[in-house]
Amino acid sequence: MTMSSEIEFSQKFEIKGRDFSNAGRISTIIKEILKEIGIDPLIIIRASIASYEAEMNVVMYAQRGVITLIITPEKLHLKLEDEGAGIENIEMAMKEGFSTATDEMREMGFGAGMGLPNIKKNADKFEISSIPNKGTTLDITFCLNKKEKR
């Protein structure tokens, strides 16, 4: 990740795969941090939704993952790295409705094939790379100085 300006805030959060009862906890904490920092409420919601969907993906499909929240004067970055199943076909995974979720995941109210498309929809910039059976990396960026998106 390239940083155009100096980092004002940075924090790493660990996510445990398959830990369904805590799924979403990290994103709730991230939302609190963004509120405390005083980020624009509309950006907070978009970033929280993206973070939550990404966190659920780690819980559902990976053994473990790390979310790094980085805030610069211009941008908010969510960087996700997980170790797990990875994604065989990213193009398919980005399609709304495509899912490889199990019944257990669907019982949680997730696994409808909306996660990655929803992350992309909320982000100003979204990058994804994955190696099957190794893991997935997401780079989600929000511009703090423009509000017209969404």
Partner: protein, 120 residues
Amino acid sequence: MTLKEIKELLEAEVISGEESLDDEIAFAGGSDLMSDVLAFGKPGILLLTGLSNAQSVRTANIIDAKAIVYVRGKKPDKMGIQIAKENGIPLLSTKFMMYTACGLLFSHGLPGVSGYVYKK
């Protein structure tokens, strides 16, 4: 429509957030699918859902939902109630099923996310 009116219309039980019953609700949406709630929900929404695990409350909190009504007599688990209390999200539970609960609110003038209002 206030939460209190919603409670009465749905003959609902208040699980937590009794102090917020005077809060105004402007619109509502119903789904068991949290991905859909994240995709289509808007801040201030009253969420009707049959999903009673902690994810329902976390999802509501992420999108700044105003309150949750659990349908089919469902009730959230302990963790869900705790998260709701921490974040000031009132929780109600109605015996009505999703269709009836949504229909009751809609026909009494509470619009959906799109703003479409029921006309008699």
